[in-house]
């Protein structure tokens, strides 16, 4: 067992809206990532994936607010730190974050090298421009990006290239955790593959020590990450290795998600797609009991009354459902 890079305990955050109606978008999430491992977060739109990413950074700005819980990066608890301290001490060196449309974050009037200088100067004011340039060229070369990119403006680069450039810049200080929120969703398949290859290289060369990858595209998650958690309505409903989660899901919601996978591979054409009816609940007023009960095929009256705790089974797997694993598997077997 490797060293724990990121540990999150019972993290709760909320969005404060007008009229005093709070939205509890992350509601009691616990995670653990070891050195050299990557974790995928899957779920529908609106189930709290992106809020989780923002919350993990510890960088809270209105309307997002921290309620309780711990975020421990390499033994260092960052929860409750002031946003300014987080920006100076944590972002870039401990945690790096790549949003979905990261490529639009580049100011079109600046050369790429200026962004690298900006990132480094927040943490180390004394470094000379020459040193920064050499360091950036070296890093870009290792990651397979042509170093000439550094002297270009953002408009001269293609979408995929911009995205890879942003990833290279944000990981230039070798952060311990990289949080990637849909880094390849806006790209075509070939650029997507290049981004994924680059992220794998970052992991292999040790430029980042661990990674959280958020996407709703399950085949991609399966190929990128070691473990997968499935989120629903601000909570984690199931956790397991990528293989277990894709081929042997336990929670009815994960089962539904995996049933919507489409891949261009032989024999997948005749499989009936399983769609989950309905939409995720409104998190202003989360339902009592199991949050998935209203959309669950197997729900019984008790489901809507009692809060379901996280249940561990086998090693390292967790799920949140009142039924036993054996019962669920039997039901799935019966339904094909």
């Amino acid at each position: 067992m490797g060293k724990v890079m990121l540990e999150v305990k019972e993290l709760k955050t909320k969005y404060v809206t007008r009229f005093k109606e709070d939205v509890f978008a992350v509601d009691g999430v616990s995670l653990k990532i070891e050195e050299g491992k990557s974790l995928g977060v899957a779920g529908e739109s609106g189930c709290g994936k992106s809020t989780l990413a923002l919350s993990l950074m510890g960088y809270y700005f209105a309307p997002l607010h921290y309620i309780s819980g711990d975020i421990i990066i390499d033994g260092n608890n960052i929860s409750g730190m002031k946003p300014d301290d987080v920006r100076r001490k944590i972002l870039g060196t401990e945690i790096a974050y790549i949003p979905q449309a990261a490529m639009n974050a580049l100011n079109p009037t600046q050369k790429i090298i200026r962004f690298v200088e900006d990132v480094i100067h927040v943490h180390d004011k004394g470094m000379s421009k020459k040193d920064i340039y050499d360091m950036a060229v070296e890093r870009f070369r290792i990651l397979g990006l042509p170093p000439e990119v550094l002297q270009k403006h953002a408009v001269e680069l293609s979408g995929g290239m911009k995205q890879r450039t942003v990833i290279a810049i944000s990981t230039i200080l070798s952060p311990k955790v990289l949080i990637a929120d849909e880094p390849s969703s806006a790209l075509d398949v070939t650029s997507q593959k290049m981004v994924i290859k680059m992220m794998r290289e970052l992991m292999e060369k040790g430029f980042i020590k661990s990674m959280i990858f958020i996407t709703h595209e399950l085949p991609l998650l399966y190929n990128v990450t070691d473990d997968i958690v499935v989120m629903y309505a601000g909570q984690i409903v199931e956790k397991g290795t990528a293989k277990e989660m894709v081929f042997d899901p336990v929670h009815p919601y994960s089962k539904g998600l995996m049933g919507s996978i489409i891949v261009p591979e032989e024999g997948t054409r005749d499989v009936q797609l399983e769609a989950i009816p309905g939409t995720p609940p409104n998190l202003k007023h989360p339902p009592d009991g199991c949050r998935f009960a209203a959309r669950c095929k197997y729900a019984k009256p008790e489901c809507k009354v009692y809060e379901v705790p996280e249940k561990d089974f086998e090693d390292g797997r967790m799920y949140r459902c009142i039924y036993d694993v054996d019962y669920l598997k039997e039901v799935y077997g019966r339904n094909g």
Partner: protein, 271 residues
């Protein structure tokens, strides 16, 4: 799914589209041939900029065809004046990528659905009949008409709007439906719902669906035949099973190898 093909509804012969002239002349679509049949599901797959949306727009009659003929039901298509164009659009409809910009934001949803009924000759029906038709269309796409009435399109979520587009198609009952990236703005779950609805609709009114997409998995799942497009040309076409599982053209092979797999190995070394 090898099934018998119906009669040809849309046939393109040497269709070419040129934008601009002189130095800026671009051939977006170059001499393509296609033949779409009744009740068939077709996918046109290609990367951004390959000209797939241009083909869709030419078929819809939104832009002119520079060269070549388009045969609709065996006759050359005639949309030379407004009335003929309207007549043509009764037979051919589209669902676009962005549900948010597909509706007139000043019209309530009731008006939108009423328009569809009026357009297909239901103008003289009683209010009760119209109401029943709208309710039926909404329930077909798992929406409740009672919840939609008196609302504006922007009050709905993306998935709901996309389903409302399908409800429109249900009322219009066109011969051909062009679905231009219908699922690229929704997540995998809603994607499954929307695809199932479109296929159910196909079975119901025996219409031809043309999917314009870059999602090869989707093309493989839904379509009877697939056309792969690169730089304005079809590089490969045929039944989905043949094209996607046993691709011949180098471009198709590359495209398919770039999609993440779950049963086989996904080779990252090829980029």
């Amino acid at each position: 799914m090898a099934k018998e093909l119906g009669k040809s509804v849309l046939k393109g012969e040497n269709i070419t589209k040129v934008f601009g002239y002189g130095k800026t002349r671009t051939e977006a679509v170059k001499q393509v041939n296609f033949d779409f049949h009744e009740g068939e599901v077709i996918s046109i797959v290609g990367e951004s900029g390959s000209g797939k949306t241009t083909i869709a727009r030419m078929i819809l009659g939104l832009i002119g065809i520079t060269e070549g003929t388009l045969l609709f039901n065996g006759q050359p298509r005639d949309i030379s004046n407004g009335r003929k164009k309207k007549e043509y659009w009764k037979n051919i409809q589209a669902v676009f990528q962005d549900p948010f910009s597909s509706f007139n934001i000043f019209n309530k949803i009731d008006d939108l659905l009423l328009d569809c009924i009026n357009m297909t000759g239901g103008k003289h029906k009683s209010d009760k009949e119209k109401f029943d038709m709208m309710t039926e269309a909404c329930s077909f796409v798992n929406l409740k008409y009672a919840e939609l009435t008196n609302k504006y399109p922007f009050e709905l979520s993306g998935g709901q709007m996309q389903r409302l587009m399908i409800a429109r198609v249900f009322l219009l009952k066109p011969k051909i439906l062009i679905a231009d990236e219908p699922t690229s703005m929704v997540d995998a779950c809603s994607r499954a719902t929307i695809l199932d609805m479109l296929l159910k609709l196909r079975d119901e009114i025996n219409m031809t669906i043309i999917f314009i997409t870059h999602d090869i998995g989707l093309a493989y799942y839904v379509s009877d035949s697939v056309y792969i497009m690169e730089h304005g040309k079809f590089v490969e076409s045929g039944p989905a099973e043949d094209v996607i599982i046993h691709p011949q053209a180098a471009y198709t092979k590359r495209l398919i190898s770039d999609v993440p797999k779950i049963y086989g190995e996904w080779d990252l070394s090829t980029v």
